[in-house]
């Protein structure tokens, strides 16, 4: 099989400093080269960039268009340095060292050039820092301070030059603040393989635009918000509903409930100056109550519910395909919890939508359950309930506004809040989050499992599904197969992953599934094949492999997450993001999982109670189909 983790970027090569292939002498491979940076000597592997070499010895070179996650454009020129013997200054991010060189990173030429570049950027950057959501978290602002910008030498716009595009439920574009670093362009084409954003026009008329300058809501944007997380300024932001949420809280007639997804708790501390990787789950619960939310629920509850519904759907698909020989059944089944991924497949592979599980995402399941089961149980008129979802995600804002997401008879979820927006609410309420006392989630959905928590990381849904499927089908403890029930083969950050799980033995069919399958004999001796991928560029590789009849076409179940790293790297998470930060957030997530008493979705007592009291015709039954499942829209990628 072709290595699906190979780089097959569609980004133009002008936006991708390329790897050095010119080392024709093979004895050079793995060789090092001497470099002197500001008088300090060091050895680096051939091909290391000046920027990397400088960072490795703690020399700071400023950057703007550079981003650890992205291919290298070398366009802002703020990282220029002097290389001895070269007529011009060199962009350190794009300069691979292949022969011994001497570098000066802050000579007078360099300092003058950087200051000019900042002056030029500011001459086009309209915006007042104090009214910008990136105030104190803006790379341009930081550099202006670092380089002692005390006046606008080449002027400063006095009024906005561009209209703000607020058409999208998810992403707002304010090109007045754009400095044309093209990180968003590269994110969209290179990380996500979507390509909604592109530079158009030339010279000082250059502008980042959508196809035919259409509003973002009318193009093939998947709402993932990855561009927001990589924008160095405030040019991109999420569509922020906090005013409406506050209004609902302030309205005594409204019963405002919030569900919190697992990823925000692993990230929100960063908004309060903490190092990445400290989960603030229970402090956040207290903060939410102080903000005035009437109930605080854990989305993990519906994550567990998703595993039951999606898992049952998978079993049914396999049963129909393998036993009933029904050739109309689409396999592999694809996960459906990432709304960015859903919009991606709706646009780019509409013909493959039948593979996608019909189970709603945990967010939407929760909305439907709250406005039906919970409303009835607590005698609250669902029209007075306001459901808020705290998500690491900007696509969730679009998802909750999908017209089909009203199965409760109301809008299942009223508002989607990002981690950043909640942090803003918390600080507006004067709450010192990191030092708050802890408190638990509210009943009746209080008890969650570790399986729900790991939904936040790439591979988490698959791990949760495996924990449950193994136990329900094989009738053995998953711990017998994987130490501490940690399904290591599906963990990690590699873009595309594949794992096999032989089903050596089968157990009795559990009660909850008895009406659907008579026994498991048909699975005995089979090998469950699963795939995991994150970032839609990787999704594309997997989908193309399936179409070509490759290894992934033989999979039974594949997890797709729109964002690199999964939800913990979502477009609603704190800024900045990079591989290191995402790793730390993942560590926090898996740490939480390990602490749960119950770590398997099918053992969640609240979920079992929901089936015994409300969804009495069981998983994938009639009521669950009405409330917890949905269908998709083949959108295609051609825009009228």
């Amino acid at each position: 099989m072709a290595n699906l983790n190979e780089d097959v970027s569609r980004a133009p090569k002008s936006m991708r400093a390329q790897t050095i292939t010119g080392i024709t002498d093979t004895t050079d491979i793995g060789a090092t080269v001497r470099v002197e940076i500001d008088g300090k000597e060091l050895k680096v592997p051939i091909g290391t960039t000046i920027l990397e070499a400088a960072r490795s010895i703690g020399v700071r070179i400023p950057t703007l268009c550079y981003h650890e996650d992205l291919c290298i454009a070398g366009v802002c020129r703020i990282c220029v340095v002097e290389v001895e013997g070269q007529r011009t200054l060199q962009a350190s991010c794009a300069y691979p060292i292949t022969s011994p060189i001497k570098v000066k990173t802050y000579s007078s030429k360099v300092r003058k050039a950087r200051r000019h570049i900042l002056d030029l950027l500011l001459s086009k950057h309209y915006g007042e820092c104090y009214s910008c959501f990136r105030n104190n978290n803006c790379e341009l602002q930081s550099l202006a301070k670092e380089y002692g910008v005390d006046q606008f030498r080449f002027g400063h716009p006095e009024k906005p030059l561009h209209e703000v595009d607020a058409s999208s439920y998810s992403v707002i574009r304010d090109m007045n603040k754009c400095i044309l670093c093209r990180r968003c362009v590269r994110t969209c084409i290179d990380v996500q393989e979507v390509g909604v954003l592109e530079a158009v026009g030339r010279s000082d008329k250059t502008k980042i635009e959508t196809f035919a300058s259409k509003p973002l809501s009318e193009v093939i944007c998947i709402n993932c918000g990855q561009c927001i997380n990589r924008c160095p300024t405030g040019a991109l932001r999420a569509n922020d509903p906090t005013d409406d949420v506050w209004a609902a809280i302030d309205n005594p007639a409204k019963h405002v409930v919030i569900q919190t997804a697992p990823a925000p708790r692993a990230g929100i501390g960063e908004c309060f100056g903490l190092e990445p990787g400290r989960a603030l789950t229970f402090e956040m619960n207290t903060a939410l109550r102080r903000c005035g939310f009437d109930k605080v629920f854990d989305t993990n509850f519906t994550a567990d519910l998703t595993i039951i519904e999606e898992g049952t759907e998978l079993i049914l698909r396999l049963y129909k395909a393998l036993v009933k020989k029904d050739t109309s059944i689409a396999l592999p089944q694809f996960t459906s919890c990432s709304p960015g991924w859903i919009k991606y497949i709706e646009h780019f592979y509409p013909e493959m939508l039948k593979h996608v599980s019909s189970a709603k995402s945990p967010q939407q399941m929760f909305g439907a359950v709250i406005k039906t089961y919970y409303a009835k149980k607590n005698n609250i008129d669902p029209k007075d309930i306001v459901t808020v979802a705290l998500m690491p995600c900007s696509a969730k804002k679009f998802e909750c506004n999908r017209p089909e997401m009203c199965d409760s008879g109301f809008k299942d979820i009223d508002y989607g809040l990002t981690t950043r927006e909640l942090a803003q609410m918390i600080s507006e309420a004067g709450i010192d989050l990191p030092n708050l006392e802890k408190s638990d989630f509210d009943d009746p959905f209080g008890t969650a499992t570790g399986s729900g928590v790991i939904f936040a990381a790439t591979g988490g849904v698959m791990e949760a599904a495996i924990r449950t499927v193994v136990e329900l089908v094989c009738g053995i403890k998953v711990e017998n197969l994987f130490d501490h029930a940690d399904v290591i083969p599906v963990r990690g950050f590699e873009g595309v992953r594949y794992a096999e799980l032989p089903i050596k033995q089968v157990g009795p069919v559990p009660d909850i599934l008895k009406h659907l399958v008579p026994n498991w004999d048909w699975l005995k001796g089979a090998t469950l094949k699963v795939g995991v991928c994150h970032g839609t560029a990787n999704a594309k590789k997997v989908l193309d492999d399936i179409k070509a009849g490759g290894k992934f076409s033989e999979c039974h179940f594949i997890e797709f997450m729109a964002c690199p790293g999964g939800c913990l790297g979502g477009g609603g998470q704190p800024i900045p993001t990079n591989p290191e930060i995402r790793k730390k957030r993942a560590k926090a997530i898996y740490g939480e999982d390990a602490h749960y008493e119950i770590r398997k979705s099918h053992e969640n007592p609240a979920v079992l109670e929901l089936y015994s009291q409300f969804l009495t015709d069981g998983p994938c039954g009639h009521l669950s189909h009405k409330l917890l499942h949905t269908d998709y829209t083949p959108r295609g990628k051609y825009i009228a």
């Binding site: 133009p12 090569k13 390329q18 220029v80 050039a113 000019h116 044309l180 530079a199 030339r202 010279s203």
Partner: protein, 397 residues
């Protein structure tokens, strides 16, 4: 525009096929050595030794290699490549074929300026004839394993597409934007493969050198700038046109030839070149002195130099690709400054600041366009400061 001088070009003495046949008598590496011996440097402007470029490409590993002829001729004031393509296309294609032999390429591409579309039929028929004569195609001149053909691709209408990496980007179907270097096209060029990009004139001279020998070529010119060179001469002179002169000719000599004596200034190298004032007309047109891709624009005594500067800056404000900060915003700021100078509202301090900005653009821009777009402005400010500031005083009082 094409003057009678053209018929006297050395190229008219070179017989079709003679350069290629001479080349094929040698091993590829020997062809490169002959070029090295001739001292041939690129005629596209940058003056990079042609043999070095070819040697790198020959040594680079690649399943496939490409020869690209840069016929984008976008520099204001140059039209010599057009003359070559009209009258001596055979020699240009032959130069490409020799290049293919030297580096081991099977495919050649000529990237033709959009405005030269009217030449396509004529060029295609030259290519067809060459195929018939077995000067292109399989087993060229009977040489086993030497297969090569040339296709014509139309340029995309931007000046920056003449920059070799933007040209390649454009050939690949992308926006014409220059790439980061290193790696260079000789290593990672068209479709990521080793590629030589050479100017039309360079390729024609290659053919001439192979036909007539390296010694013949370097018998004229200077030590560092050997051989002959075509010049596109325009502006305030009695006989504008395309001229062939030995490298190292002084500006004064050139002005005499074209009947442009009495000029106030000469713009050497087009919009991205330098403006040389009369006091420096003894300087030589050579890589080691005033380098040029061949564009010579003559300004008579009545020309308004601020207007000249403005004209050039307007060109760059139009043509910057917009990728990198210094060029994208810098050209525009300089143009605004010129407008202030015209209105007499530019302070000395601000003019100073703009000149420093120009230096930053030269140093920090990503490609040759931004690295040279301030040249004309800076040299005009340096040489004609009084004229420019004259109006500041007049209007500012």
């Amino acid at each position: 525009m094409i003057t009678s001088k053209c018929s006297k070009l050395t190229f008219s003495e070179i017989k079709t096929g003679s350069g290629l046949q001479a080349a094929l008598k040698n091993k590829p590496a020997e062809v490169i050595s002959i070029l090295a011996d001739s001292g041939m440097k690129g005629r596209g402007g940058a003056g990079f030794p042609t043999s070095t470029k070819w040697r790198f490409a020959a040594a680079a590993k690649g399943e496939e290699k490409f020869v690209v002829c840069n016929a984008d001729e976008g520099e204001p004031g140059t039209f010599k490549d057009r003359v070559l393509l009209c009258d001596f296309a055979d020699l240009v294609f032959e130069g490409m074929t020799i290049g293919a032999y030297a580096i081991g390429a099977k495919t050649g591409i000529i990237y033709l300026r959009g405005e030269y579309t009217y030449l396509v039929n004529q060029l295609e028929s030259v290519l067809a004839k060459r195929r018939q004569a077995n000067l292109l195609g399989n087993k060229i001149c009977g040489k086993e394993g030497f297969d090569f053909d040339i296709q014509i691709r139309m340029g995309s209408g931007a000046y920056v597409c003449g920059e070799e990496t933007a040209l390649i980007e454009s050939l690949e179907g992308q926006r014409g934007e220059p790439r980061n270097r290193p790696p260079f096209p000789v290593d990672t060029g068209f479709m990521g493969r080793p590629t030589i990009v050479n100017n039309v004139e360079t390729l024609a001279w290659v053919t001439a050198i192979l036909a007539k020998g390296a010694a013949w070529f370097k018998s004229v010119g200077t030590e560092k700038s050997t051989g002959l060179k075509l010049f596109s001469v325009s502006g305030d002179c009695a006989e504008p046109g395309v001229y062939e002169f030995p490298m190292g000719i002084t500006i004064a000599q050139l002005l005499k030839e074209v009947k442009g004596e009495g000029a106030k200034a000469v713009q050497v190298g087009g919009a991205s070149g330098h403006c040389v004032a009369a006091k420096d007309f003894k300087r030589a047109l050579a890589f080691e002195d005033v380098a040029t891709g061949g564009s010579i624009i003559i300004f008579g005594p009545n020309r308004d130099m601020l207007h000249v500067a403005k004209n050039f800056m307007e060109f760059f404000v139009e043509e910057s690709c917009g990728q990198c900060t210094p060029c994208r915003e810098g050209n525009h700021k300089i143009l605004e400054g010129i407008e202030k100078l015209e209105a007499g509202t530019c302070s000395m301090a601000y003019l100073d600041e703009l000149c420093k900005l120009g230096e930053t653009m030269q140093l920090a821009s990503k490609c040759g366009l931004g690295q040279s777009s301030a040249n004309a402005f800076l040299s005009i400010v340096a040489n004609f400061k009084d004229e420019i500031l004259g109006r500041t005083e007049k209007v500012a009082v």
